[in-house]
Amino acid sequence: MISLTHLQRLEAESIHIMREVVAETEKPVMLYSIGKDSAVMLHLARKAFHPAPPPFPLLHVDTTWKFREMYAMRERTAREAGMELLVYRNPEALALGINPFTHGAAVHTDMWKTQGLKNALDEYGFDAAFGGARRDEEKSRAKERVFSFRTSRHHWDPKNQRPELWNLYNARKHQGESVRVFPLSNWTELDIWQYIHIEKVPIVSLYLAAERPVVERNGVLIMVDDERMPLAPGERPAMRRVRFRTLGCYPLTGAVESTADTLPAVIREMVLSRTSERQGRVIDHDASASMEKKKQEGYF
C-alpha cells in the first residue's frame, strides 16, 4: 500500500476542484497576484490540465503599487505557462490617482482591489474566478466554502452559503451570478512553503532575506521600492536584512528582519515564528470582523 503524504492529498484535492470548475462553468479565470499562494495555485493548474495548458486566462488586478520585482515575475510566469495574461487597472482609481499615501490604506484597497476586481469580472464576463485564499489565514475564511457564490453585485452572504458535502461541488448559478473558487482552502502557510520547496515552484526573491532599503513607520518596516515613496523630513531609508512573509502593495506590506535566504531557512523560521503572516498586512489591522465586511463588499 502507498500512503499518500498530506501534500499529495492536498494537491489531488486542489486539482479535482479546478477540473470541476472547468467542466461546470462557462468562462473561468484565475486571479493571479504574483504572491506565493498564486504561484502554487498556478502550478497546480498546470498539473491539472497537463499536457494541455490550463484552459483559462490569468487575471492580475493591478494597483500600480506592487513591488517592481513582482511585475517582472508576472510577465515571465504567464509566458512560461503558455497562458493569456490579462492586467486590469481600475480606470477610476487611475484617473483619481489613488495611492496609499494620500488616500490611506482603506480607500486605496477599496478602489484598486475591491472595485477593480468587480469591474474586471464584469467587463470580461467571467462567471468563475479562482482565488488563492486559504482557510487558515483568518477567522472568517475558516467558514467560507470552496465554491463561494456572489450575487450579480458581487456580494457575499455568509449566512446563506450552500452546504458542501463530500467532494460534490454544486457550481450551478443564475445568469449574472458568479462564483469565487478557492482550491487552496485546506492548505496552511506551512503547506504552501513545503510544496514550493519540494516542487521547486518559482517565487519572487522578496520572500527570501536580503539587504533592502527600508524605513520604519509605526513599528512596521516598509521597503522603499521606488521614488514614489514620500519620505518624512529627516527620514532616511536604511539597509536592513529583511524578507516578506506576504506580498501586496509595497507601501502596505511590512517586512520582517530575517537572515533566512534559502527556502529551508524560511520554513524553519516560519515554524519557529511567533506571529501569523497577516500581521504584515497593514489592511488587516482593523477590528477582527473587518475581513468579513470587506468580503461581503466583494473583496476577495
Partner: protein, 636 residues
C-alpha cells in the same frame, strides 16, 4: 498554561512538525452545546503550536472582554468566525481548522451542536475519516450525543473516539467514566458503530490530550493525539476496495492526445489494466497514466490522474472507470437515505437535479418509505421531509448511472440534490441499493405506436398546457380552442382542473405536497393521451415551475406548448367569477394561489395571452395559428 514558557521544548516540538512527509487525517468534533468542543479544538491548536503570538494576544484580550472563562484563555472565541455568530455567542456553521503533529496534518471540522443545524454536522461529517464525540462527564450521554452518533454512523464514519470531557469536574472518577462508557457502548452497537475508543480528558486542563495524565492513573491511554495520529485514514482503506475512477474531464489538447482526468475514488490503477467504462459496459486497456512529472506505473485511491486508453472508446464526463472484472452496479432506480438541507420541504413527486460523482441526472422522488426520528431511531410515516430531517425513499432517474452502495464506497454512493429553480444544494443522499422494479417491469414494445396513430388521425399529438391564476380565463379559452379543433375534425381532450379534482384526484387537497401530486397525475394522464395521438388541453393553475417542467419532460420535444394565461392578480380578483378570492381573503380558504400560496409565472412560455388586451375568441385564434405554424395541425 505554564507549558508555553518552556521555549526550548516548544521550538523542538515545532521543528519536528514541519516534515513534509506526513499523513493527512480529516476528523470532526461533535457534542452538545457546552460540552467543550471549541475548547478542545483550541487546546489542540495550542498544543501543536498552530496558534501564533499575535493570535494569542488577540485571544487573551478578547477572553478578558467577552470570554466566558473568567479571564483565562477562552479557546471557544478562536473558532467563532463570523461576526453575527459572535454576537449570538453560538457557532452556527461549519468551521475548518488545521494543525499538525510530527506524523500527521489534521483538518478539523468544528460542527455545531445546536438542534436545527443537522445539515452543518452532516456537511462536516461527509469528508471525515474519524469523529471525536464529546460527552460532558457530569451530564453523561444525552439525546444530542445520541443524535450526533447516529449521524456519524449514517455518514459512514468508521472510527469514533468518545472524549469524556471535564473529567476534572467529576474528580477524575474512574467509576463515572466507566458508567458513561457502558451507556454509550450499548447505543453504539445498536447503530452499528464498531470501532469506538473511550478517552477521559479535560480540554481546559489538557489531561490525556498529548500525554497520559497523572490525574487518571487508572487510564493507560491512548491520548487523544496518539489516537488521531494512528487511526486509519479512509483513502488508505479504500486502496483495498475495487477500482473506481469517476471521469471529470476529457482532456483533448490536440488530435493525438485524448486523456480522461479524475480523482481515484478507490482501488489501485496500473498501466496495462483491463478496464470497463460504466454504465456503458465497454472495455479497453490503460495505456498511460499521465502526470506533468512523467508517466506513472500505478496510481492509488485519492490521487488525481489523467489516463489514456489503448483502444479508443467513447468516454465522457460522469462515466466511471473500473477494472473489467469488478464493475460497479448500474441502475436508474434506487433506494436512498436522504438528509434534507433545503428551507422548502422535500416533496415526493417533485424532480431535482442529482449530482453523483461527476454525473448530473434528473431525479424524481418517490413517496417516502419513512422518516427517521434521530433521537429514538424510530421509523415514522411521513408525506414530506422538512429541513434537517432524514428519510428513506426511492429515486427515479432520467438515465442510468454507475454506483456502489454508500456503505461500500462513500465516493460512488453519495449524491447531492439541487433545486432546479434556485440552484441551491437542498439534499444529501446515500444510495443503498438499486430497486429492481426497473428491470422487472419491462416496457411493452408495442407495434401500434404514437406515429402510427398520428398518421391515422391526420394531425400530430401535443399538450396545450394552460397555466395562470384562478379566474385568469384558462378554462374559457381552452374550451373555445377545443371547440374550434373539434370543428376541424381533430381529436382532442380537455383535462380541466376542477373536473379532475372531482374524480381522479378526489383524495388530494391544496397543500404544496398535494398540488405537486395533483399535477404529477395530470401530467401522466396527458402523456398517455398524447401517446394515443390526441391534442390534449390541460387547464390547471399549476403554480410551480418545477411541476410544469416535469410535465414537459414527460412528452417528446415540440409536443408540449405552455400557454400562459397572463392576468394580473388584481384583475382576476376583480372578476372573482367563483367567489373564491373573497373566501380566501376572508380566511375561509387556505393555500389559495396568489393570496397565501405562490404562483411562479412561466419564464419562456410558447404562448402568452395577455387577457387585459386580448379577449377569449382572439386568444383561441392565436393558439390555433401557433399550432398551424408548428405543423401540429394543417396550417390555415
Amino acid at each position: 498554561m505554564d507549558r508555553i514558557n518552556d521555549q526550548a521544548s516548544i521550538d523542538a516540538a515545532a521543528s519536528r512538525n514541519w516534515s513534509a512527509a506526513k499523513g493527512l487525517l480529516r476528523f470532526i468534533t461533535c457534542g452538545s452545546v457546552d460540552d467543550g468542543k471549541s475548547s478542545l479544538i483550541g487546546r489542540l491548536l495550542f498544543e501543536s503550536k498552530a496558534l501564533f503570538e499575535d493570535q494569542l494576544a488577540v485571544l487573551a484580550d478578547e477572553s478578558k472582554r467577552i470570554g466566558t472563562t473568567g479571564g483565562d484563555l477562552d479557546f471557544a472565541l478562536l473558532l467563532d468566525g463570523l461576526a453575527a455568530e459572535r454576537e449570538q455567542g453560538i457557532t452556527i456553521d461549519v468551521a475548518y481548522r488545521f494543525f499538525a503533529t510530527e506524523r500527521r496534518k489534521f483538518i478539523v471540522a468544528d460542527t455545531p451542536g445546536h438542534e436545527q443545524y443537522t445539515r452543518n454536522m452532516v456537511t462536516g461529517a461527509s469528508t471525515a475519516d474519524a469523529a471525536v464525540i464529546l460527552v460532558d462527564a457530569r451530564k453523561g450521554v444525552l439525546t444530542q450525543t445520541r443524535r450526533h452518533s447516529y449521524l456519524v454512523s449514517l455518514l459512514g464514519i468508521r472510527h469514533i473516539a468518545v472524549a469524556v470531557n471535564k473529567m476534572d469536574l467529576v474528580g477524575y472518577s474512574a467509576e463515572r467514566f466507566g458508567e458513561i462508557q457502558r451507556d454509550f457502548a450499548g447505543f453504539a452497537e445498536r447503530i452499528g458503530l464498531a470501532d469506538v475508543v473511550f478517552l477521559p480528558i479535560s480540554a481546559v486542563n489538557g489531561d490525556n490530550i498529548t500525554a497520559v495524565s497523572a490525574n487518571t492513573p487508572w487510564f493507560r491511554g491512548p491520548t487523544l493525539i496518539d489516537y488521531l495520529e494512528t487511526v486509519e485514514v479512509d483513502d488508505d482503506r479504500m486502496q483495498r476496495a475495487p477500482l473506481r475512477l469517476p471521469v471529470q474531464w476529457v482532456n483533448r489538447p490536440n488530435l493525438d492526445f485524448r486523456g480522461f482526468a479524475g480523482q481515484l475514488a478507490s482501488g489501485v490503477l496500473k498501466r496495462g489494466d483491463r478496464i470497463q467504462v460504466n454504465p456503458a459496459g465497454t472495455q479497453s486497456t490503460i495505456r498511460r497514466i499521465v502526470t506533468s512529472d512523467g508517466d506513472l506505473d500505478e496510481a492509488v485511491a485519492g490521487q488525481s490522474v489523467t489516463v489514456t486508453l489503448s483502444e479508443e472508446i467513447d468516454v465522457s464526463r460522469g462515466d466511471v472507470l473500473s477494472h473489467a472484472d469488478a464493475p460497479p452496479a448500474a441502475s436508474d432506480q434506487f433506494e436512498a437515505a436522504v438528509v434534507w438541507l433545503g428551507d422548502q420541504p422535500l416533496l415526493p413527486g417533485r424532480s431535482y437535479l442529482m449530482k453523483i460523482g461527476a454525473k448530473t441526472a434528473t431525479a424524481s422522488i418517490m413517496p417516502l418509505k419513512y422518516k427517521i426520528n434521530v433521537n429514538t431511531l424510530e421509523h415514522l410515516a411521513a408525506p414530506r421531509l422538512e429541513s434537517n430531517e432524514i428519510g428513506v425513499c426511492g429515486l427515479e432517474l432520467d438515465r442510468t448511472v454507475a454506483f456502489d452502495a454508500y456503505s461500500e464506497n462513500r465516493a460512488t454512493g453519495a449524491f447531492i440534490l439541487i433545486d432546479r429553480i434556485n440552484n441551491n444544494t437542498v439534499g444529501a443522499g446515500m444510495l443503498r441499493f438499486a430497486l429492481r422494479r426497473s428491470q422487472n417491469v419491462h416496457w411493452q414494445a408495442l407495434d401500434v405506436n404514437k406515429a402510427a396513430r398520428a398518421g391515422l388521425h391526420g394531425h400530430s399529438p401535443c399538450v396545450l398546457w394552460f397555466t395562470g391564476l384562478s379566474g385568469a380565463g384558462k378554462s374559457t379559452i381552452a374550451n373555445l380552442v377545443e371547440k374550434r379543433l373539434h370543428a376541424l375534425g381533430l381529436h382532442t381532450y380537455l383535462l380541466d382542473g376542477d373536473n379532475v379534482r372531482h374524480g381522479l384526484n378526489r383524495d388530494l387537497g391544496f397543500t404544496d405536497a398535494d398540488r405537486v401530486e395533483n399535477i404529477r397525475r395530470v401530467a401522466e394522464v396527458a402523456k398517455l393521451m398524447v401517446d394515443a395521438g390526441l391534442i390534449v388541453l390541460v387547464s390547471f393553475i399549476s403554480p410551480f415551475r418545477n411541476e410544469r417542467r416535469m410535465a414537459r419532460a414527460l412528452v417528446g420535444d415540440g409536443e408540449f406548448l405552455e400557454v400562459y394565461v397572463d392576468t394580473p392578480l388584481a384583475v382576476a380578483e376583480g372578476r372573482d367569477v367563483k367567489g373564491l378570492y373573497k373566501k380566501a381573503r376572508d380566511g375561509q380558504l387556505k393555500n389559495f394561489t396568489g393570496i397565501d400560496s405562490p404562483y411562479e409565472a412561466p419564464e419562456n412560455p410558447e404562448i402568452r395571452i395577455d387577457t387585459t388586451r386580448v379577449d377569449a375568441p382572439a386568444a383561441a385564434v392565436e393558439i390555433l395559428e401557433t399550432l398551424g405554424r408548428r405543423g401540429i395541425i394543417a396550417a390555415g
